[in-house]
Symmetry: C2
Subunit: 334 residues, 2 copies
């Protein structure tokens, strides 16, 4: 009889999450399937900055994780056995699932994926929530137009690297802000960004943005918030659109973070800031997946992953997101 | 031969404008009209917070005033003599004009107004830029829906008092934030606001907003920025719309003002903030004026003015805006 493993939320993180905030427990594997159920074996686990929000006990758009309960995220899993008429043994599925090596599911909200269409981990990245977030956030709020200038913060992250490439496909001048020269080299070489800024080594980020954006900033796809976003505000054009997709620089703050007051900038430039959560745009998922798949097939869209091996390393992979240790999508191969 | 008077920008204000930032000069009256010109006598002068921005030497949506040149704002004037075929002696006109007792104009961008339709000063207020700003900002960005909750800051000001009334006409729960009990009494008695908050005497504005808005805040019409707006952010609902119309609490700041970081709030609530400048919506002016005139005729819309007498008092009336000495629209009767 082999043992199953589950990762529980052990304590609510204060500031940056620590390994002790998680607990790995073993239990007997579950094998008894009732009518409609299936047994899933986890193959790839997505770790994402937004999960940090679910670890706090605050009212949010998605329920908080409960203490001593399993954490869930997007997962790709294989069907080991099925009493569900919609899925068969050997199918590969994706959806929000528990951080368990094996689990029983009723199949609700799970989607079958095609391993011949793209590598399996891509369904957690460019063809999953990550790609959808990049595409739908940019199109719905950023409303990019050819020859405009797009700035992307967290540009070497999972979402940012896709946003920048879509900007290039659509004919924009694309500037990426990331935290290392190595990442910035990747943005230019692999993803076609026109200009990059290393926010950790640049003295005057406001000026660096001005230099990289001679015609000003029309669309700002913001994954980070904080001082980088402050610097962008000084460079926005009239009628600029700011997509507030993430604020990773602020998620671990233990006191209410402060920034420059955006109101005078927004008024003077008649600019827009809008929060984006991909789940609100579910009706556009099929169209978006279709477009992303096509670009992927046409080799117009490239992607990179940071793949960590081993179920027990899921918590550390998640923690490493906050030190920017990932390039592109961070996934754990179980 | 009588003398004319002009008010010039004497120095660019640092912090709150001072009387010495303005200079009143006398010169011989202008009487020689060329073909197409007319001589105007100033009757009412509008003083508005946004003029503060034009007094600084910064790139903006509207050119800065030049030092030692006349200041301009919305004015109602009488035509004393006309060589312009579109206007006759005795006509009353309104538009952006210089702070002069008398001036020559070519009539460009001036509009004839009807003194029988409304008191003349109303064309600087409820039927002028003020009313247009309230109506078009609320409708285009606030997108108010019946039974939603609308919070208005600077509620006793010219724009705010109209915004709140439009909110009531449209069936919203309307909460006003202003700086004195007397103003708040007026908001309830004269303008039908449901609840009011005195931001100067309230200890915990965040809690006061929560109490006044049991269903949260759907639309925030912001005239002030700063700590009042910070407090509103804690109370916004999912999909809230924030109209950034003014930031009077920040206009006189001598250092870059800071506020709570709005990004995490906007993301969590998928909320929108957008800067509003009425000139961008000129194509909607006729429809808006029509609607405002009708509500005025039907006595659904009330307005109040603070009328200061005397040309020489224009600078002080403007300065007094920043101490909230006005109730409703501040105008100077010449």
């Amino acid at each position: 009889m082999h043992m199953n493993k589950t990762i529980l939320l052990n304590s609510r993180p204060v500031g940056k999450p620590k390994p002790e905030d998680f607990k790995i427990v073993s239990a007997e594997s579950e094998k008894q399937l009732s009518e409609g159920e299936m047994l899933l074996k986890t193959m790839y686990v997505s770790v994402d900055p937004y999960l940090r929000g679910r670890m706090t006990d605050a009212d949010s758009y998605i329920p908080s994780f409960e203490l001593n309960h399993p954490i869930e995220s997007a997962i790709v899993a294989e069907v080991l056995g099925s009493e569900n008429k919609n899925f068969s043994e050997g199918d590969i599925v994706t959806g929000l699932l528990d951080w368990k090596k094996e689990q029983i599911s009723d199949g609700k909200d799970l989607m079958r994926v095609d391993p011949d269409q793209a590598p399996l981990s891509a369904y957690l990245g460019v063809l999953g929530m990550t790609g959808l977030t990049a595409y739908l956030g940019l199109m719905n709020i950023g409303k990019p137009k050819k020859d405009e200038t797009l700035v992307v913060s967290g540009a070497a992250g999972a979402v940012g690297s896709i946003v920048g490439q879509i900007g290039k496909i659509l004919g924009l001048h694309v500037v990426g802000i990331a935290g290392s020269d190595e990442k910035n080299e990747m943005l230019k070489q692999d993803f076609g960004f026109d200009e990059t800024i290393n926010y950790k080594t640049t003295q005057d980020i406001t000026k660096a943005i001005a230099d990289a954006c001679p015609k000003g900033v029309d669309v700002y796809f913001d994954n980070v918030g904080g001082s980088v976003s402050d610097a962008v505000m000084f460079n926005i054009n009239n009628f600029a659109r700011i997509v507030n997709c993430g604020a990773i620089s602020l998620y671990n703050a233990t006191e209410m973070p402060h920034s420059i007051s955006v109101q005078p900038f927004l008024i003077q430039k008649r600019a827009l800031m809008q929060g984006f959560i991909v789940m609100d745009y579910a009706s556009q998922f099929p169209e978006a997946i279709g477009q992303l798949s096509q670009w992927l097939k046409e080799k117009k869209l490239n992607y990179t992953e940071t793949v960590v091996e081993g179920f027990d390393n899921i918590p550390q992979a998640f923690i490493d997101l906050f030190d920017g240790k990932n390039k592109g999508k961070m996934v754990v191969k179980v």
